[in-house]
């Protein structure tokens, strides 16, 4: 049937046979049928032509539907996905993953699954990839592990969906240094990202390029590009950063000072230390106890300003205290241990006895975090200064656990545990079995004492524990919280806690069992894919480096 016939049929039907008087003619076989139809509805009255038209529409519809042809295939412009030699996840493991993906945020076990799967080098089932890529898109904190787990098939899949572009970008980021020409012409955000990549790949070349262009860039651009220097920051970067302390733009100066403050050997840090030394003095008493004498700076000179100290306080404090705070926060705390010949704990205790306890502790905490000084962080935390959240994230779990255990015990006996557990939550990594049992014991103590705790708090507490308790402690936790505790209103929540820890144990067992199997899947669909014999090294590098002892 020609397009013309179809068009005039449509026109006649839309306008009506009262208005369109010409009869509808077709060609070929359909034309013959039209002739027969016209013969059955003689006359040129609109009624007769309307019923003829109906029959023609009916005939055409049947004719077209049965005669419709399939479009021909077009050449696909994209190659198929490459092979993946990682061992496939077991069937039980696949069911567990499906549960995790279906239930989503409330249980929040996906991060742990991803981490374990990445560590073991397990290949997730292809059908889970869209959900995993979606999870990686919406949850930034798990993106890194998603990228490790999805493998070549997942990276391939991501190239089809603009929403999953992050996966291809991350894959690109690892090995290609951008050409300087591209860097000069690219839009703002892209330039910064490219420069960061370049710093990772070849920090010297990237710095040299930046040094060359900084003079001709606008202020906003200079600050953003300079910030990219934080990638692979090292002592060699000091001259460039030092020169930027005299930049015309304030943002650039601040940025340069921030970066220099993170180089313990930089002149800026030495200058700050010298400044601080005049205001914080260690006096040793005859009986061996040290004390701190503090004197706030009386004025802010230009040299100090140049090193990034800001005049107006951004927190609630007096101006002079604020200046000292900034100076102290820049100095690596280990300098005080060296200077005063005292332990961090002795110095912290002395600081707490001064009128400026908050100032000192805050600045030291910030400095401990900036310079990743675990000894000082520990000393600050031991003195019960739990309100500095950054400190916890700096301390390795095995060193934090004894501190926390003691704290939890005290809290369980006197208050409710939610605040303490809230802080514990900030520390990365799975809890050890010993610590998990300690937490369970504290919860039991708290409940036996009938401590007043709101259902919301209790739910939060149980949620954190369910995600973090060591899977190996499952039975001990069950015995402690369900078997030896009188049933109460909390029992359903505790049930949930024990069940989730049990699910995690089963989940990790399934993943760990994987690594003992040979690398090829052995299933028909997989062997077809791995024919090319290529073995991607995704899994090989990961194994071993993330091994934990507590599992």
């Amino acid at each position: 049937m020609t397009r013309g016939t179809r068009r005039s049929m449509r026109t006649t039907a839309m306008l009506g046979t009262e208005r369109v008087s010409e009869a509808l003619i077709g060609d070929g076989d359909l034309g013959q049928i039209f002739v027969t139809i016209d013969a059955q509805h003689p006359g040129s009255a609109p009624d007769a032509r309307a019923s003829a038209l109906l029959s023609k529409i009916a005939a055409t519809t049947a004719f077209q539907r049965a005669g419709r042809r399939l479009p021909t295939a077009t050449q696909s412009e994209r190659p198929a996905a490459g092979p993946d030699a990682r061992p496939p996840l077991s069937r039980r493991g696949q069911r567990q993953l499906a549960t995790l993906l279906r239930e989503g945020p409330p249980t929040q076990l996906l991060p742990e699954w991803l981490e374990a799967a990445a560590r073991q080098g397990v290949r997730p089932p292809a059908r889970a990839l869209p959900a995993l890529l979606e999870a990686g898109r919406t949850q930034l904190d798990i993106r890194r592990h998603v990228l490790e787990v999805i493998g070549p098939r997942g990276l391939w899949l991501a190239t089809f969906n603009p929403l999953w572009a992050y996966a291809s970008e991350a894959a690109k980021e690892d090995d290609t240094a951008p050409a300087p020409v591209v860097l000069e012409q690219a839009p703002h955000a892209e330039r910064v990202a490219s420069l960061r990549t370049w710093r990772r790949v070849d920090s010297v070349a990237a710095r040299n390029w930046l040094e060359g262009v900084l003079g001709s860039e606008r202020a906003r651009e200079r600050a953003a590009l300079l910030a990219a220097m934080e990638v692979s920051l090292g002592p060699d970067d000091e001259p460039l950063l030092e020169s930027r302390l005299d930049d015309r733009a304030k943002d650039v100066r601040t940025q340069a000072a921030l970066l220099l403050a993170r180089l313990p050997s930089s002149e800026l840090v030495h200058r700050m230390e010298a400044r601080a030394a005049g205001h914080i003095v260690w006096c040793v008493h005859p009986e061996g106890v040290g004390d701190l004498a503090i004197e706030l700076p009386s004025k802010l000179d230009d040299a100090t300003r140049r090193d990034g100290v800001v005049e107006q306080p951004t927190r609630r404090s007096g101006k002079r205290a604020w200046w000292l705070y900034q100076i102290l926060a820049t100095v690596p705390p280990s300098r005080w241990t060296d200077r005063f010949k005292a332990t961090p704990r002795e110095i912290v205790r002395a600081g707490l006895r001064t009128d400026w306890a908050d100032l000192l502790v805050g600045a030291w905490a910030e400095a401990s975090f900036n310079h990743a000084d675990v000894g000082w962080a520990e000393a600050l935390l031991t003195e019960k200064l739990y309100h500095e959240p950054n400190l916890w994230s700096g301390i390795p779990l095995e060193r934090a656990e004894p501190l926390l255990g003691g704290w939890l015990r005290r809290e369980a006996n006197t208050g409710d545990l939610s605040k303490a557990v809230y802080e514990v939550r900030r520390i990365d990594g799975a809890w050890s079995e010993k610590f998990s049992r300690a937490v369970a014991t504290s919860i039991r103590t708290m409940l036996e004492r009938d401590a007043p705790i709101s259902p919301g708090r209790m739910k939060e507490l149980v949620g954190v524990c369910a995600r973090r308790m060591a899977p190996g402690s499952h039975e001990a936790v069950r015995d402690m919280l369900l078997r030896s505790l009188e049933p109460s209103g909390w029992t359903p929540l505790l049930d949930q806690l024990v069940e989730l820890v049990g699910f995690r144990a089963a989940m990790l067992r399934e993943l760990t069992a994987m690594s003992d199997r040979p690398g090829t899947g052995g299933l028909p669909a997989d062997s077809a894919l791995s024919e090319s014999g290529e073995r991607p090294s995704v899994a090989a590098n990961e194994r071993g480096t993330h091994e934990r002892t507590d599992e």
């Binding site: 049929m9 449509r10 009624d47 009916a58 049947a62 198929a80 089932p125 059908r127 391939w156």
Partner: protein, 334 residues
Amino acid sequence: MSALDRQPDASTVAKQKRLAAREKRVLAGVGELSRFLEDLLRQGLATASATGYRTWDEMASRMVDAQAPGLARMVRDLGGVAHAGPDWQDNLLERIGRLHLLLEAYRRIESLDDDLASDVRSLVGFATRRDAVLARPAVHDTWWVLGRRLELQDNLSTARCWLWGEQTGRFALVLSFAAGGQPFDIGPAPGTRIEADLHFYPSAVPLRATIASSARRGRANRERAPNLFRSLREAWDDYRRALVRLPWIERFPMTLRGVVPSPVDESWRLQDAEHAIAMQPFGRDGWTLLAVSGGHPVDVCGEWNGAAFVPFGCFSEGGFATLARNPLYSEIAP
């Protein structure tokens, strides 16, 4: 004994009387609907459709009164098509064409063969009694459950379940219904096989069937049946041949061998070496299928819905992957 014999006679007579009365009303309704369509084309669809749903809804109610619920549904659907989407004019004409063909067929039902006559009667709205279907010969086979789709529309839950017989090579569609949110038997699980006797409804293209109660529980499918899947061309030709026998087919099962999915703009396509077919996956199914294929050919089962292929499941990684899950109903992962 004689009294017992007479009683069913009496009720049969009453039944036949009722049926005759209904057929008379339906025939009158068919005449009315034909005149209505003629009037529409005489005045022009542009004017009629401009008046919106009301024209169609009123006519649909007349068909309910005429005890022709099938026709009522088709008329109501016409109202939904008018002015919907860029191709509404062609869509509307196509549906009017099919409706007219049905009305003409019903008028001449005496001249049709028994199977086609059954189709026409059921399309107009005469229900086929299940016991009549169960009285027909059983087809015994190992039936593969290709896919299942649950739908909730107008407060009616429908489960549509496609089967394929290992020995007979026949497709079968098992439907079950329930009012509102009532729990009901949604049929066997996709990705399993059942040993069962099926009874097909009479039809020129027999697809709809009912499972005799003797069905055994399903076993999971690990391997794929060698002759289940067909090339795109073969599946398409089956569909066209079926249309020739029964022009009102709306959904048709397709099991496609070695097709590669790909996203095209905002929609999807499946293709093998020679041909391509439009695909309309549910929800995230397109991405799942693409992930499972990895750009390599996969075997996919589903149904053609008149405009595009809807995937229900595929074979991957040594097993059957179920698609077309409905979030309204929670199903357990296979």
